[in-house]
């Protein structure tokens, strides 16, 4: 209502008094013509798309394209992308490791291990030769041949083996913590410990 008051009354009067537009003289005549004219059926969107005058040329064109690809003269040169074997995941991983130099490192490590193994083998074989001498006790010989590969047995029998053989054994390969000592050896170790303690105490003071 407030807005209506702001509207110029003259404008409203002019709108009301605008000249009335009337129908032409032949209005009814044209109207009856339209009424008696058969109703035009409006085609829907799908009807327009799939009308016969459009679908036939479209189908023909599609058929020509399909035939062209199926019966091509140089079809042997054509490499079907669907027939190409896809790259294997494993290959991709190997390539990426090579890039990083990991495979090279692995190979180097394997070589080192093989060399170590060979040196060990040569040591063992030399040890066996030494044991094969007649002056060595047969019981020790049996023991060594049975468990030549285990470092524990080698260390147990080290007391009876001569100095040359003892020198050949690599101490790094031996596990001293698991070593089974004889009573005599234990006593010797204890005496050594006491001596060490006795020598350390006056220095600390």
């Amino acid at each position: 209502m407030i807005m209506e008051e702001n509207i110029n009354n003259k404008l409203l009067d002019d709108l009301r008094n605008l000249p009335k537009v009337s129908a032409p003289d032949n209005f009814e005549e044209e109207l009856w013509k339209k009424i008696y004219k058969p109703e035009e059926k409006k085609e829907s969107f799908w009807q327009k798309i799939f009308s016969t005058n459009k679908i036939i040329p479209a189908a023909t064109a599609a058929a020509i394209i399909i035939i062209f690809f199926l019966v091509r003269p140089n079809s042997s040169d054509y490499e079907d992308p669907f027939m190409i074997e896809p790259p294997v995941r494993e290959d991709i991983i190997t390539v990426s490791n090579d890039d990083a130099g990991v495979s090279g490192m692995i190979e180097q490590k394997q070589k080192i291990e093989q060399q170590e193994w060979k040196t060990d083998e040569s040591k063992r074989s030399s040890l066996k030769k030494e044991l094969a001498k007649p002056e060595i006790d047969s019981s020790i010989k049996d023991n060594l041949t049975e468990s030549a590969t285990t470092p524990e047995t080698l260390s147990q029998s080290s007391g009876t083996i001569n100095d040359e053989v003892q020198f050949d054994i690599d101490k790094e390969e031996l596990n001293f913590l698991k070593r089974n000592l004889t009573d005599q050896e234990k006593q010797e170790i204890l005496e050594l410990k006491r001596k060490i303690k006795a020598s350390d105490t006056p220095k600390a003071e």
Binding site: M3, L12, R16, L18, V21, A23, L31, I35
Partner: protein, 187 residues
């Protein structure tokens, strides 16, 4: 006979005389309404004829619950809106695109302007031009209320909106109209 009685008569006995009376009663009000909405006389005559064709063919879809005038105005309004949008779509490069708020409209045909003969030529033309600059929804409401003189209730029924919305649209339409015609209505 009332409009409702005539249409019922036409429905029952397919009485062409009843239909002719209805045409005679409503052709000019509808022509006036559609002309003010479209701004093109030839197009408006076509739209009104199409409205009567629909009434003739689909007479049975009218129910006595509503007023006949409301029903026929609804049909005419719908057809006028469709025609306006169709013309708007097809007039992208038209020289008539000089609306202030992006509104496209056609210059009324100056060869046949019934209002020019009887009214102040300049003012009537400016009012029609200003009406065409209004948004569709405001224009329709202002024409039905201020030119056709229909009640708010009737307009609400024709446009299928609430009465409050009708009033709001009319007020906004009038305000915009006054803004467009500020050179004429200075005071």
């Amino acid at each position: 006979m009332t409009d409702e009685e005539l249409i019922l008569e036409f429905q029952k006995s397919n009485d062409q005389k009843a239909f002719e009376i209805l045409v005679e009663r409503f052709k000019n009000p509808l022509i006036n309404f559609v002309y003010r909405f479209l701004g093109d006389y030839e197009a408006c005559v076509d739209v009104v004829q199409d409205t009567f064709v629909k009434v003739y063919r689909y007479k049975d879809s009218y129910t006595s619950v509503a007023k006949f005038s409301t029903w026929i105005y609804t049909i005419a309004g719908n057809l006028a809106r469709s025609e306006y949008r169709r013309r708007k779509r097809n007039s992208i490069f038209s020289i008539n695109d000089y609306g202030e708020e992006g509104e496209n409209y056609d210059i009324p045909d100056n060869k046949f302007r019934p209002d020019v003969e009887t009214y102040n030529k300049f003012k009537a033309q400016k009012i029609q031009e200003a009406l065409m600059k209004l948004k569709e929804v405001y224009r329709e409401a202002v024409i039905l209320r201020d030119i056709q003189g229909l009640s708010y209730e009737e307009i609400a029924e024709i446009l299928k909106i609430e009465e409050g919305t009708v009033k709001s649209r009319i007020n906004r339409g009038r305000a915009q109209l006054q803004k467009f015609l500020k050179n004429i209505y200075k005071d």
